[in-house]
Symmetry: C2
DNA sequence: CTGTTAGCGCATTCAT
DNA sequence: ATGAATGCGCTAACAG
């Protein structure tokens, strides 16, 4: 049980003045006698006084917090996004409540509820891979609480979104492989309800088309992002009458797993099969051969999303703008291709 | 600007009843007419009503949130601790406010203030490597808000702490190297104001002593955990008249950096120099050779710390118990030793 | 079973 | 320059 916390009333009583004056002194109001102000400030410090944001939030109808919901943060991607968001939010006097949905729709719904309970002033979210119903997010719009999507965005909601230019990133990755002489380029994609997956698939197809390579169905596979199931897809590729000479993976963990499996099967990378990932995780320089991958401006994504959110927070609902920001990618060529 | 949010008064007015009844219906109080309850619940849903935790917190003198301050979470360690903490906290109806101090004392102080402002019911913290003054944390004790330290703990504060048994972990790591025939075992340690570093150093010394190996000053170095400076320590080791035949690193990132540098210098691992890390980061299986390291029960650390905190929250200040929990480690032998 | 009243900590408006 | 009064949204004690 928490103790009684020092309040402005406690300070007022000790000083024999009214709580209004204490409040004014504490908030830096001009019309307070210099001496009074000093007495208040010094006593406040002595009594370990801290403002109570709950009560201020109640008055201001604002908690000065921003909610962030991410699928996970055991990999480096989301933590870095959060880092960027925190930078911007803190500078504007906002704090973050972070929740992990753990790729679970029910948890995401629960998280959204938590955000509402805590009166967040805005929400940043990257959805789970299984989220198909968006009622839990539409509530925010109805309530006039702005939402910004990042990375995993919702197509059917017209709110600001921040994504990397996945299509372009994938295009350059495939183009790079083609220029390296690869002709049978497989793509182990993620689930096709995810926007990023659709976009990267579009980039993949565009590149094949531009270089007049056939789009072969058996080379374009979708999987559920569960690393344990990568093996069966790799084996499928290897069992094809004409093996692929390159594999493009939907993300770095997938690419790294593919490389591990190929190495286990004594297949030379990149000579026999080249591998390219997406996202430039820290791990991509640690493995051998080092992974060629598409770098995303991850921290910037957090910064941009947070800034968009802060902009919306200041505006009236009617003035909300639903832009989608595309952040550029960069192909980092290493040894795996 | 956020819209007006539906309140119990809005519901009460529409239904022509008092707000107390609405409140009772919403909190599941028994003494509410079945029909009234249903009308309230259905209208609440229709109007997107959500409770306002700010006002409840104000009444209950509790925000139902727990604060967590960590130095960073770009590496997998802290995120996983948080994962464990969140599991326990959520189950008990608490939410998390997470702040990163970014290894910066000033930020840590600012973070602590944020926690106070937001009326957290308890604080979990792993300090920055430069924190030497603890006034910003002692305030919590004075205010009756419990603190639990984990990983990077404060020796001079008598509060619950959760750490892995660093001494034992280091001991087994060194013992393992000795049994592999290594005799000149270097230790690249972190700053010696950190408790973990002291403990691992103790384990290192104990092992040498037990196996009657001399403690050589030039083989025991302290560095500031900034990976960029690892190179100069490695070069120092390599320039010794008698090179070490093994290097024990304070953590996995350090070990991995050491391996990178050794490989660059064409030194065979583990034949010429073995390397052992500490923490079993995800990356340790990705590099070649795979890293031998001391595994810590990271998620469990978060769970235990959160549970200790919840226990304290329930208690009166006088009944707080300051135990230090030691979590066991496990040596994971791989190819680097 | 329900309504009335008070109060959580604070900012703010209206007095003085 | 200061005090008194009001209200943010809600729960709870008290009164019917």
């Amino acid at each position: 049980m928490k103790k009684h916390q020092t309040t402005i009333v406690d300070i007022a009583r000790k000083l024999g003045i009214s709580k209004s004056t204490v409040s004014r002194a504490l908030t830096g109001h001009l019309s307070v006698h210099q001496q009074t102000r000093e007495r208040v400030l010094s006593l406040a410090k002595e009594m370990d006084y801290e403002k109570n944001m709950l009560s201020i939030g109640l008055i201001k109808n604002s908690s000065q917090t921003i909610g962030i919901i991410v699928p996970e943060f055991t990999r480096s991607f989301f933590p870095e996004v959060i880092l960027g968001a925190q930078e911007i939010a803190n500078a504007a006097g906002y704090n973050l409540i972070i929740c992990q949905s753990e790729e679970n729709y029910e948890r995401e719904v629960a998280n959204a509820k938590v955000m509402l309970l805590h009166q967040v002033d805005g929400l940043m979210i990257s959805m789970t891979k299984e989220t198909l119903n968006f009622d839990h997010l539409k509530v925010f719009q109805r309530k006039g609480i702005p939402i910004v999507f990042f990375n995993r965005v919702c197509e059917e909601m017209t709110v600001p979104k921040v994504v990397v230019d996945d299509e372009e990133g994938a295009f350059y990755a495939i183009q790079h492989l083609i220029k390296k002489g690869k002709r049978k380029i497989a793509f182990l994609n993620g689930p096709d309800n995810l926007y990023v997956c659709k976009k990267r698939e579009a980039g993949y197809k565009n590149a094949l088309k531009k270089y007049k390579l056939p789009l072969e169905e058996q080379l374009l596979l979708h999987y559920n992002l569960n690393l344990e199931s990568v093996e069966k897809y790799v084996d499928y590729f290897l069992a094809l009458p004409e093996k692929p000479d390159a594999i493009f993976a939907i993300n770095d963990p997938t690419a790294i797993e593919i490389m591990r499996l190929l190495k286990k099967r004594k297949i030379k990378i990149p000579e026999e099969i080249a591998v390219v990932g997406f996202s430039n995780d820290m791990a991509s320089t640690l493995i051998e051969p080092q992974l060629t991958t598409v770098e995303q401006p991850v921290k910037k994504m957090g910064q941009v999303a947070a800034q968009l959110l802060l902009d919306q927070i200041k505006r009236n609902v009617e003035d909300w703008k639903a832009q989608t920001i595309l952040l550029g990618t960069k192909l980092v060529v290493r040894e795996s291709s």
